[in-house]
């Protein structure tokens, strides 16, 4: 196939959801019909979802993009000379120069959307495995120190320093030890884990291998939610390829250390994203939350010392090791070091992944980068950090994107999702949904969460109906306090964030004339 022109079409689930498979097939068919030498490469997504399906062509000027393309556009693209990067209505120019991408700092997502996710050669060619090589040179203790120095904190939402977790497991007595990757990305508005698994799975494998060597673990698990069938398939195949190449298995990469990874599929329980519930689920039990202590680092999977990290934390480790802790820690602000793949979602014009150093303001992210709403109406609220995250009104758009700054405003950055709502949103309805979701997903172990969520839904219903509003408002606030301080885990403990933020920032939505009495 030498001399063939490379054309790149994503196989990321979000691209497939908007027709990427049909586009890829049409390109292959049209190239065959015209007898043109085209080599179709399936990649992950760049994460510029309003441009998906985004087709890229390798040219002398770099990769040139066309999008959003449909199968019907394909003959026209050939006619216009897209294989030479020529003009067309969908022509976007060199992809790297699209401002949305050019403004990012892509460290964790450096390869995503660029390479064939199942080509180890492509992975190596783009800097892959350098982190593992350096970790082997440094040795386990110094690798842990390097991760501590980088300032990396848990990207799942809790923000606990990753290196400290590793150190605890490294020093814990007991064998075997485990590395568990939390890929149960259940927060609405988030898709970064999915994109890495579908677009750069070797990066996660490398990160887990580094964690294993640093902590002395010999077995890893990637717990992937069942709602991600494409990620499960790509990850499973990547593990097979890594085993065949000696990156997993006995004596990995010549280290003398044995390590293998298994994929475990969730079964539709949001609460299994909570780390102790996940451990029970992997053990084959109901996903009940465990009381802490003991910490999973001491008494984790099957009662053994266990590192359990979010996928993005683990996928950020290879670049930290490859480039050095300082290079990573030089990005960011305050105690939030490095970059975060911010995910812009919902009713937003330019939805996608925007990896940047901590410190942009919420307003810059939503208005400037996200371009406001997709509907063209004013932005009214942004839910940050998933279903357990607070709703931010425009008045708080000066909040810098930083773990502590969000916490100070009674919110959280969580796993980096931002869901944008326009002015048609009913915030009382959103508050009710938060309680409903908690009731639906509660594991049932602790009473505040199991019972309080259903009672919360009922109280909000009474407020909306106009029944003894002031009394019920007081009751709702009181109930939120009970949930916040009395729940065993973040599901019950954080459900008050969306509820109370809706109530505090959008009280007018709770005080409308009861429906049926007034026009909308």
């Amino acid at each position: 196939m030498s001399g063939a022109i490379e054309v790149f079409v994503p196989r990321d689930a979000a691209a497939l959801a908007v027709g990427a498979e049909e586009v890829a097939r049409a390109i292959a068919a049209e190239a065959a019909r015209r007898n043109l030498p085209v080599k179709l490469v399936r990649t992950g997504s760049r994460g510029l979802f309003w441009l998906e399906p985004l087709v890229e062509v390798a040219t002398a000027r770099g990769r040139v993009g066309y999008g959003p393309a449909s199968a019907a556009d394909v003959p026209g693209l050939f006619d216009a000379g897209f294989l030479d990067g020529k003009a067309h209505a969908l022509h976007l120019g060199p992809v790297e120069k699209i401002p949305y991408l050019a403004r990012q700092t892509r460290l964790t997502f450096a390869r995503c959307g660029i390479v064939d996710p199942l080509s180890l050669d492509a992975y190596r060619a783009q800097g892959g495995l350098k982190g593992l090589e350096r970790a082997l040179k440094l040795g386990p203790a110094e690798t842990v120190e390097e991760v501590i120095r980088s300032g990396l904190r848990g990207r799942g939402g809790a923000g606990f320093p990753t290196g400290i977790k590793w150190k605890t497991v490294r020093e814990a007595a007991g064998a075997p030890k485990y590395v568990v990757c939390n890929a149960d990305e259940g927060d609405s508005g988030t898709f970064a884990d999915r994109m890495i698994m579908e677009g750069d799975p070797f990066c996660l494998i490398e990160g887990m291998a580094i964690a294993a060597i640093a902590t002395g673990a010999n077995q890893g698990f990637v717990y992937i939610r069942s709602e991600y069938p494409h990620a499960i398939r790509t990850m499973t195949e990547a593990l097979r390829l890594a085993r065949a190449a000696g990156i997993l298995g006995r004596n990995i990469a010549g280290s003398g250390h044995d390590f293998d990874i298994e994929v475990r599929s969730g079964a539709g329980a949001y609460v299994c994203g909570e780390e102790t519930s996940m451990l029970d689920s992997i053990e084959g039990k109901r996903g009940l939350v465990r009381a802490k202590p003991p910490l999973p680092a001491h008494h984790g999977l099957f009662g053994k010392p266990t590192v359990i990290n979010n996928l993005i934390s683990l996928a950020s480790v290879p670049v930290i090791l490859a480039e050095g802790a300082k290079a990573y820690a030089d990005f960011g602000m305050g105690r939030s070091r490095g970059t975060m793949p911010i995910q812009l979602a919902g009713n937003v014009k330019f939805g996608g992944v925007f990896e940047a150093a901590f410190g942009l303001t919420l307003g810059e992210i939503v208005d400037d980068i996200g371009g406001g709403t997709a509907s063209g109406r004013p932005v009214r609220a942004v839910q940050a950090g998933g279903p357990l995250g607070a709703y931010f009104p425009r008045a708080l758009f000066d909040t810098p994107y930083d773990y502590e700054a969000f916490a100070q405003r009674d919110g959280l950055i969580g796993h980096g999702g931002l869901v944008v709502f326009d002015d048609t949103v009913d915030m009382a309805h959103q508050a009710r949904f938060a309680m409903k979701f908690c009731a639906f997903e509660s594991c049932g172990k602790c009473t505040p969460c199991r019972v309080g969520s259903t009672r919360g839904m009922e109280v909000i219903d009474r407020i909306v109906k106009g029944e003894r509003r002031e009394e019920n408002m007081t009751l709702l606030k009181d109930l939120c306090q009970t949930l916040k301080f009395g729940s065993l885990c973040a599901l019950g403990g954080f459900t008050p964030y969306p509820v109370m933020s809706a109530l505090n920032h959008f009280p007018e939505d709770f005080r409308r004339a009861p429906s049926g009495l007034a026009a909308e």
């Binding site: 969730g266 084959g284 919902g346």
Partner: protein, 159 residues
């Protein structure tokens, strides 16, 4: 495999044997059982309990805990409509309500001819191409509107 949805003792035994020595074998077994029979038949739970030396109550507890596992087969096709916040912000709730009304179903219901079950799902990770849905836990669709969704449901009913 014989008629999907119809329980087969030998196939169940094969699935159990393939996983029983893995640590935490129960969920992988249940996933494969459901893939084979479109639900977790009571008879299979008895066999799993014996093989893993667990009580039937424990197996039933796990089956009933996870939203994915069913004790009764669904329709031939299952359409899951995302009802989480990102899809809500793009009208996902209204879209779902309209489809359910059109099909004369409540959530979890199956059309009369047994072709299509419609269920809610809370996030497919397709939040920047909302509203989204997934057909038969495999085919993902985004940027849905009423016309696209109705066509998808009709296609599934005919297939």
């Amino acid at each position: 495999m014989a008629n999907p949805g119809h329980w087969d003792k030998e196939r169940t035994a094969e699935i159990i044997a393939a996983h029983r020595d893995e640590p935490g074998a129960l969920l992988p077994i249940l996933h494969d059982i459901q893939a084979a029979f479109r639900h977790i038949p009571r008879e299979a739970m008895v066999m799993i309990a014996e093989a893993l030396n667990l009580s039937r109550a424990e197996i039933h507890g796990v089956v009933s805990f996870y939203h994915d596992f069913r004790e009764q087969p669904a329709g031939r096709h299952v359409l899951k409509l995302c009802q989480a916040e990102a899809c809500q912000s793009m009208g996902g709730e209204r879209l779902a309500a309209d489809l359910l009304k059109k099909l004369g179903l409540d959530w979890g219901g199956t059309t009369k001819e047994g072709a299509l079950t419609v269920e809610p799902v809370y996030c497919l990770g397709l939040c920047a191409t909302a509203p989204s849905a997934i057909l038969d836990d495999d085919r993902v669709v985004g940027r849905l509107d009423g016309t696209k969704l109705a066509a998808l449901a009709e296609e599934a009913r005919q297939a």
